[in-house]
């Protein structure tokens, strides 16, 4: 009797410890890829690279990936992707040859369309990637794809569109095979959030890996815990979005069984402990930029651990009628304890969560322009306001007021030598010059590296003519001039933009008589994006 009870206890211990022992005996390689650009017919993402950075840092800090075994690729092409994968495969093969168990994790955040990952202008087919991972020399291959319609990769054996899966915990031998997590189903877009400063899926996956997904409270977050958590939170957060709910998918083709520990919260000596006595509810941990870096769904009387990196965080607990907010300092090498007494009541208006918009996602450019200005009315352009070439400088602020809105200020000058030709006066030589100060607000519709735009502009024009003959007075005219602008921006290089544009302007002339004039400008702009 006693022996039978002991055997059952030992079996239970073995089951519980199995993932731990697997994790500790596993050499982990990680390829983390982020690319905001998706080439033609896509609009640039805002947070794909940022999500990749966060995931790389998290896997390095908590995921057991040694510094030399992780690769972070940003804005690389499919060629770079495959080259890095080849390198990691080679290292995994060498490790296997030495008798080590290995895991290869590939995380991708970026565009996907038409059955392929879109890395800038290059593509990597889902099936090609799947075949490549299926044959990769690692005991466990895990692919996490945070991209639109990535669920197409899991529409095969083992595909699940729900978190309700279970693995046989009575594993008799180590798991081997391929696991694929995708952020959305085959017919869904993967959505980003300005408030989270990342994609919903990657945010909740990362938050789960920091501890929120550790339902068992054992200080370890397994692949399935992380996925279940990310699934539930992603669906919940996107249910009310205009794009509709986003459903992550899961596919596995495992021989053997057993769970895989993705992060070990105890691997980091620092972090935050939320005591069991702390009130239950949703806790949000906000970094100094106002972004939620981790969440925690606290249940009563259960101590939870959040593996926050060293730093200062604002803690928010949302209640039905108010917030409880406070600040906590996580020091290097120390576990901080969240004390409820250090939180205070605050109205919802004091929510410390800011999100990245508007200032976080904005970017700016400076550039030089060349253009041609000419009035529609022939007599005007021949004898009053001449057609001239202009050069100028310009600064633009993108995505500040609103996504894909651009506000710009510009200055341009132009001029030419000319001879006056009037009915009763011809021949005097003079220099005609134009100075233009303008501000423009326009909206872009990015498609890959190309972005057509339309907007409005207000310019302040100063025209002068200075006569060589001292008997003729130099003349000046200044006026505000409203107009429209349309054009095309092309980004051939990461820091370089080329823009072609046309402007149509109205100018009220009031000296000799009141006349409504119109002029056009055709120009090109070269801008540098720091």
């Amino acid at each position: 009797m006693m022996r039978a009870a002991l055997q059952r206890w030992l079996a239970l211990v073995l089951v519980l410890v199995a993932p731990v022992s697997h994790a500790e005996g596993l050499r982990r390689f990680a390829l983390v890829v982020g690319n905001d650009e998706g080439g033609e017919e896509t609009r640039p993402l805002r947070f794909a690279r940022g999500d990749a950075r966060k995931m790389h840092a998290l896997l390095s800090r908590l995921g057991g990936v040694a510094p030399g075994d992780g690769r972070l690729l940003l804005d690389e092409s499919s060629k770079g992707f495959l080259a890095a994968l080849t390198e990691l495969e080679a290292r995994s093969r060498e490790a296997q040859a030495r008798g080590e168990r290995t895991a290869l994790l590939v995380y991708y955040s970026g565009h996907a369309k038409d059955g392929a990952l879109r890395l800038g202008n290059s593509r990597l087919g889902f099936e090609d990637l799947k075949r490549r991972l299926a044959g990769a020399p690692a005991d466990i291959r895990i692919a996490i794809l945070d991209s639109c319609r990535s669920g197409a990769l899991t529409r095969t054996k083992g595909a699940r569109r729900a978190p309700a899966f279970e693995l046989d915990s009575g594993a008799s031998h180590d798991a081997r095979g391929l696991v694929i997590l995708t952020s959305s189903a085959a017919d869904e877009d993967s959505q980003e959030s300005d408030a989270l400063g990342g994609s919903y899926f990657s945010h909740h996956l990362a938050s789960g890996l920091l501890g929120d997904a550790d339902r068992s409270g054992d200080g370890r977050v397994t692949l399935f815990e992380a996925y279940s958590h990310a699934y539930a939170r992603t669906v919940a957060d996107t249910a009310a979005s205009s794009a509709g709910a986003q459903h992550p998918t899961f596919s596995y083709d495992l021989a053997g069984n057993g769970d895989v520990v993705l992060t070990d919260l105890r691997a980091s000596s620092e972090g935050l402990v939320v005591p069991g006595l702390a009130p239950a509810g949703m806790y949000y941990f906000v970094d100094p930029a106002g972004l939620v870096v981790a969440e925690l769904d606290k249940t009563p009387d259960v101590e939870r651990r959040v593996a926050l990196a060293p730093g200062t965080y604002r803690v928010k607990r949302r209640m039905s009628d108010r917030l409880r907010i406070g600040e906590v300092e996580v020091s290097r090498g120390r576990q901080a304890v969240l004390e409820e007494s250090r939180l205070r009541d605050a109205p919802f208006s004091d929510d410390p969560v800011k999100g990245v918009a508007p200032d976080g996602g904005s970017w700016w450019t400076v550039g030089l322009s060349g253009s041609m200005q000419s009035f529609f009315d022939a007599p005007t352009r021949e004898s009053l306001f001449l057609s001239v070439g202009m050069v100028g400088a310009e600064a633009q602020l993108h995505d500040y007021f609103r996504r894909d809105w651009v506000w710009g200020v510009d200055v341009a000058v132009g001029g030419k030598q000319a001879l006056l030709a009037l009915p009763t006066l011809s021949g005097p030589a003079y220099r005609y010059s134009v100075t233009s100060l303008g501000t423009t607000l326009f909206s872009e519709w990015p498609h890959g590296r190309v972005a057509p735009f339309v907007g409005a502009r207000m310019a302040y024009l100063v025209m002068r003519r200075d006569f060589e003959d001292a008997s003729l007075p130099d003349q000046k005219y200044a006026m505000f001039s409203p107009g429209l602008v349309a054009g095309l921006r092309w980004q051939p290089l990461r820091h370089l933009h080329l823009t072609g544009r046309a402007r149509l302007h109205y100018l009220l002339y009031t000296v000799d008589e009141q006349r409504s004039l119109g002029f056009w400008e055709l120009g090109a702009l070269v801008t540098y994006q720091p």
């Binding site: 009763t424 006066l425 025209m463 002068r464 003959d469 008997s471 007075p473 003349q475 000296v511 008589e513």
Partner: protein, 318 residues
């Protein structure tokens, strides 16, 4: 918040406008400048560089190599001519410095302004255009009088011919009318001063006519012409000159022509006097020294010197 916005709007609107006008240029082009009307004699002589033909001289007794009396006469007369032109144009110079006060189709008005030089008077300048013809008037009225009280002190017209102040024009200064309006001008001896000019083709011509209120010894009419190659001509009359011994003084018509290098040819015709109809011709070198003389009334020595020393000034021939 509302006030700064209003202030910004006002500031912006005040930064608008200007004087960029083709019509303004055409109107200004109709007004002559000194360089268009002034006598330009070559050599830049100083006043009194030559002798002067004068009533008390007694005779035209110049010899070869001596300073020409005609040169001196023309220099003096040219300066008087330019002073007359300056006096008239000074009324127009102020207009050039100011933008029009009112612009209307084919009409520009400067003023009215208070005339600080003539207390109690307002002044304005009105220009009108009809095709290529411009008319203008400098008008005065007593301060606080109505629109009907304006009277013209200076009246001008210009027929434009496309170039820079190229065309034909007339200006008259109504000094007699000003006198009647108790408007002091400093030109009380004159009833009218007129300028008629033609600058559209060579030879250009400027005619200055003095209409004296009282009989005067000074010439009443001066004509200055400039032909191709910068050859210039000055024509005027001198009355009461005792040109030759006899009982009567002579009224003479004097025409001098100048080459760009300063050499010249003078022709004097006796209109009235002892030798009515007689002609005297003289040539001079760059220094104004006589090189050739021809007297139509002298049977013994009708000519002296070398005629070939006379410059070619045929560009001004009809």
């Amino acid at each position: 918040m509302r006030y700064p916005v209003l202030a910004c709007l006002c500031l912006a609107m005040s930064a608008c406008g200007g004087d960029f006008s083709n019509d303004d240029l055409e109107f200004l082009n109709a007004l002559p400048q000194r360089e268009d009307l002034a006598v330009k004699l070559p050599g830049g002589r100083q006043k009194g560089a030559g002798q002067r033909l004068s009533p008390d001289k007694g005779a035209l007794a110049v010899r070869l190599g001596e300073a020409s009396q005609l040169v001196g006469d023309t220099d003096e007369t040219g300066q008087e001519f330019n002073e007359g032109v300056d006096g008239l144009l000074s009324f127009l110079e102020a207009i050039r410095q100011l933008p029009p006060t009112r612009r209307e189709p084919d009409r520009r008005i400067w003023g009215p302004y208070r005339d600080n030089n003539h207390p109690g008077f307002d002044t304005r300048f009105v220009m009108t255009r009809a095709g290529e013809r411009f008319d203008y008037q400098l008008e005065y009225r007593r301060t606080n009088q109505g629109e009907d009280a304006w009277w013209a002190f200076l009246v001008g017209a210009f027929q434009a011919d496309a170039g820079i102040r190229k065309g034909t024009g007339d200006i008259s200064l109504e000094t007699g009318r000003a006198r009647g309006k108790a408007f002091t001008t400093g030109m009380e001896a004159l009833d009218r001063l007129e300028i008629h000019y033609q600058t559209q083709a060579l030879p250009t011509r400027v005619e200055l006519v003095f209409d004296y209120a009282l009989p005067a010894l000074l010439p009443a009419k001066y004509v200055f012409r400039e032909g191709a190659g910068s050859v210039v001509e000055m024509t005027f009359e001198i009355g009461g000159t005792d040109l030759v011994p006899g009982g009567q003084p002579e009224d003479v018509a004097l025409t001098t022509r100048w080459a760009p290098d300063g050499r010249g040819l003078g022709s004097l015709e006796v209109l009235r006097g002892d030798i009515t109809g007689a002609k005297y011709t003289e040539c001079w070198d760059r220094l104004g020294r006589v090189t050739f003389i021809a007297r139509s009334w002298d049977f013994f020595t009708p000519t002296e010197g070398d005629r070939t020393t006379c410059p070619d000034v045929s560009a001004l021939d009809p």
